[in-house]
């Protein structure tokens, strides 16, 4: 059994006009030391997925169903007291905007020491020593002085290093990083990403990396999920998905990359935009934007309009698409005929 297993996760926001379903049937797993990427347009539900793993979604959000099993323990219905043992200790998080993540009125040292003290019975002196060690690991210049500085005295990149140090403080099994470089200067994005990758590899820490940068995903992660409108629509080994995307949406994402456009021409953007969760199209939520919605006769596939596609296995990947399902069935029929 994998270290972390998420099955049929269903997360909703109880709004006045009724529940908005932010995640449906989300399934994935993470082995010890494995790095998993989650990609998708903004609003796809990536952050909601990240926060619900530790049951940190704020009201009116709630986990309506499914299971989150970590190291044999079920987290989805767990009381806050039990979750606190795991948060920051065995699973830690890195947030998107380092300018907002640290408390402005507490020193860096205080914010590190309190985290250690929340999980271990140690003295402040020991906690400071460990903090210093971690600040060294994230390669912050003059770490001793940083301990007594306040967040506003550090640049964004420095702060994200501090946050990475905090995430590593208790030698966690998994780090969940929600777009850890999006808010940073382009010039230091790569630096921070390299640092995170290096530390995860060195300490055998699992990583759930949320990003919309496919380049980063392919450099850092071994497996990936593609999300669309609250659902996972394709998952598998990162290399295979990037090289040979099956789902029309994933294909669209990859075709939209700047390096895929012929020089001088416009980018190949996917037409349209992601639907609002409270008003999803019927059937496959992607069908209004999909270039493969029509079947061989040029008619829209009835299944695409009526039925939410289930997963089919295609090579090492799992894809939720009626068209891919037809292809896979066709191939299976062909190979069966060959054998006969």
């Amino acid at each position: 059994m994998a270290l972390l297993e998420v099955n049929n996760l269903d997360v909703r926001f109880a709004l006045r006009g009724g529940d908005v379903r932010a995640l449906r049937d989300v399934c994935f797993s993470l082995d010890r030391g494995e790095r998993l990427g989650i990609v998708g347009e903004s609003g796809a539900g990536k952050s909601v997925a990240a926060f619900s793993l530790l049951n940190l979604i704020a009201k009116p959000g709630y986990i309506a169903g499914g299971s989150i099993t970590f190291d044999g323990e079920e987290l989805s219905g767990m009381k806050d007291r039990g979750l606190r043992r795991i948060r920051g200790n065995r699973i830690s998080m890195i947030f998107q905007d380092p300018m907002m993540t640290l408390n402005p009125v507490l020193s860096i040292g205080e914010q590190m020491v309190e985290c250690l003290k929340a999980h271990r019975r140690i003295s402040t002196r020991e906690a400071r020593a460990i903090s210093l060690h971690k600040l060294n690991q994230v390669q912050i210049p003059s770490p001793e002085t940083r301990l007594d500085q306040y967040p506003h005295e550090l640049s964004g990149g420095m702060r994200q290093r501090v946050i990475i140090a905090i995430a590593l403080l208790l030698d966690p099994d998994i780090i969940i990083a929600d777009e850890p470089t999006t808010a940073l200067d382009v010039t230091i994005q790569a630096e921070i990403m390299d640092l995170l990758l290096e530390l995860c590899e060195k300490h055998n820490v699992g990583l759930v990396l949320i990003t919309h940068d496919l380049g980063v995903v392919s450099q850092v992660t071994q497996r990936m999920l593609v999300m669309y409108a609250g659902r996972v629509i394709e998952q598998g080994p990162t290399r295979e998905i990037i090289n040979d995307p099956q789902h029309p949406y994933t294909q669209g994402l990859i075709n939209a990359l700047p390096q895929m456009a012929t020089p001088g021409s416009r980018l190949n953007q996917i037409p349209g935009s992601m639907p609002s969760l409270s008003n999803l199209p019927s059937g496959c939520a992607f069908h209004p934007r999909c270039g493969f919605v029509n079947d061989a006769n040029g008619e829209p596939r009835k299944a695409c309009l009526d039925k939410v596609p289930g997963f089919v296995d295609s090579g090492n990947c799992r894809v939720a698409c009626h068209m891919v399902a037809e292809l896979v069935n066709q191939q299976q029929r062909d190979s069966r005929e060959e054998i006969l």
């Binding site: 530790l54 200790n89 907002m100 402005p104 020193s107 309190e114 929340a118 306040y150 506003h152």
Partner: protein, 348 residues
């Protein structure tokens, strides 16, 4: 630190300058000091002479300079009513007002922080809703009405007997609905002399009872404002990313509320609140009148009624000064609490 103090001092001077010009303009335009000094029978020629002698015919600017020079030495002339230097009159009334404001501030701080924090942490609890409801009522009822109701309930007492008094339950209910009264609601009682013009109500339990009703009614508007301010700030802070991050670190809720959130909540509250405490001094006029509390507010109304211009002007200047001092103190405290402010006055 030094730069901060110099800057604040400069601000203080500027504010005091504006207040002094206004005060002087009032003095210059309200009433005729000669009229106040001499009787009806004094002939016009003598009046003119006196006017010239007192420098009342000098240009505005010259008169203002003379006023400012004296004011800097706390010399604002003589009170008509009391026939003694106005500063002396003020000093006699100041302690009563300051003690009332101190008791009120104590009440506000003691109650607003826990209530505000509680109703932010548990916004849906019935107790929070009750606090919010009562605070709206508190804000919207004028101070003098609150004061009168308090006096009726706790000083005079009410006998409310809607139930049959000859049955045990009826007597019990009647008792529950009636109040005994007996709280002092007039003046300061017998305050104990400390030094100079300062008599205190704080030295004995009996003295403190005199403060209870006036302090509650003076707090009745500011306390709800503070509760709502603290609640609103705290609610916002609890939505912040750094609170979320603290939760993701596995920090206990208690520490998140009282270390992470409260400190950030109190920063804006200190600034707004400090200014409000300063204005309390001015608010005392109503409360002191209703409770005949012998402070500056009561004195000020007296001075207005009897057109004691020098006393009015002195009151304005002193209240202005208190305002400036509290504001400076508040800024100083804010700078000490908030690490992002270096005490140079500008954010680092």
């Amino acid at each position: 630190m030094i730069a901060f103090l110099i800057k604040r001092l400069f601000h203080a001077f500027l504010v005091m300058f504006v207040i002094s010009v206004i005060s002087f303009a009032i003095q210059d335009n309200l009433g005729d000091p000669i009229q106040q000094m001499v009787g009806q029978s004094v002939p016009e020629s003598e009046r003119a002479e006196l006017r010239e002698e007192l420098g009342l015919n000098d240009p505005f600017f010259v008169q203002y300079l003379r006023f400012a020079k004296n004011a800097a030495q706390f010399d604002f002339g003589y009170s008509y009513i009391f026939n003694e230097p106005t500063t002396q009159v003020i000093m006699r009334h100041l302690p009563a007002t300051l003690e009332l404001v101190a008791a009120t501030t104590f009440l506000i701080v003691l109650l607003s922080v826990p209530i505000g924090v509680y109703s932010a942490i548990k916004p849906r609890a019935w107790l929070s809703r009750a606090f919010m409801g009562v605070s709206i009522v508190g804000i919207s009822i004028p101070v003098f009405l609150t004061a009168i109701v308090l006096i009726q309930l706790f000083a005079i007492g009410v006998d409310f007997t809607p139930f049959p008094a000859d049955t045990a339950w009826g007597a019990w209910l009647n008792d529950l609905l009636s109040t005994d009264g007996g709280m002092p609601a007039y003046g300061r009682g017998n305050p104990v002399h400390v030094f100079g013009t300062w008599d205190t109500n704080f030295s004995s339990l009996e003295g403190l009872t005199y403060l209870v009703l006036p302090a509650i009614s003076l707090a009745s508007i500011m306390l709800p404002l503070f509760i709502r301010l603290i609640r609103a700030e705290m609610l916002e802070v609890l939505q912040s990313e750094y609170v979320k991050f603290a939760r993701a670190k596995g920090i206990s809720l208690r520490r998140i509320y009282f270390v992470h959130a409260l400190k950030n909540t109190m920063l804006p509250v200190i600034t707004v609140g400090g200014v409000q405490i300063g204005t309390l001094v001015a608010y005392t006029i109503l409360t002191e009148t209703v409770f005949q509390w012998p402070g500056m507010g009561l004195m000020f109304l007296d001075a207005i009624e009897r057109s004691d211009i020098p006393l009015i002007v002195t009151y304005l200047m002193i209240v202005g000064l208190i305002f400036v001092i509290t504001n400076t103190l508040v800024d100083l405290i804010y700078g000490l609490v908030n690490p992002t402010v270096k005490l140079t006055g500008k954010p680092a």
